[in-house]
Symmetry: C2
Subunit: 99 residues, 2 copies
DNA sequence: TCACCATATAAACATATGTTGATGTATTTA
DNA sequence: TAAATACATCAACATATGTTTATATGGTGA
């Protein structure tokens, strides 16, 4: 399971935040499409995708010459959101609802 | 309002993740207490606290010689969690529940 | 006022990170 | 097989980041 730290590190870059936003909306995108949207060079995009992949936030699906990347929504929910909810929990929320 | 990017950037460091975890549990801590828990030098801790403060994740309360830091749980919830929930939303979740 | 404590800030350094240009690899098409 | 496409990887560089040492600031108590 990806670590909280690697996930936040991956999301601590505006380019990668844009990538996950796009993947969230579009569902699946090949590298060349992401390049086009971001107006960035191919190695730069590949590098950011590698960082996101290493953090467990995206996964590739190969289809012919193309590699389609998708967002791992379960990782976002089960690791990142779960951590933040634990952190942001108000004292009373651990035992009772509605304060 | 703090930006999503600065928040994730701030949380992309294991030391700062530990600090927010401690603040979440203890409610309020002075710098010297954090130094003690982390076994780190004072300038290093101050630097990390400055990063967290700049991101809007913590705020200081001065009391005599001490400065007590607290976690801004509302920022965590309203900015970071809100962003991630939007990102992690499954297609059907935008219009119906339990899909 | 002087010494002490808690903290911030600045300078210096090593390491990490993001971007670019060049090259390698796999797949498709002619 | 050769050329073209999509992508990964590597080397090089500039910039950002984290840590340490030294110094400054502000409150406390003698």
């Amino acid at each position: 399971m990806p670590s909280v730290n690697s996930i936040f590190k991956a999301l601590g870059d505006p380019v990668r935040v844009r990538i996950v936003e796009m993947l969230s909306l579009n569902g699946e995108m090949c590298v060349c499409k992401i390049m086009e949207e971001l107006s960035m060079t191919q190695p730069a995009v590949s590098h950011h995708l590698a960082t996101l992949k290493k953090a467990g936030l995206v996964y590739p699906r190969k289809e012919g010459q193309w590699i389609h990347y998708s967002l791992c929504k379960d990782v976002v929910a089960d690791v990142a959101i779960a951590f933040l909810e634990r952190i942001a929990k108000k004292p009373c929320e651990c035992c009772c609802k509605g304060g």
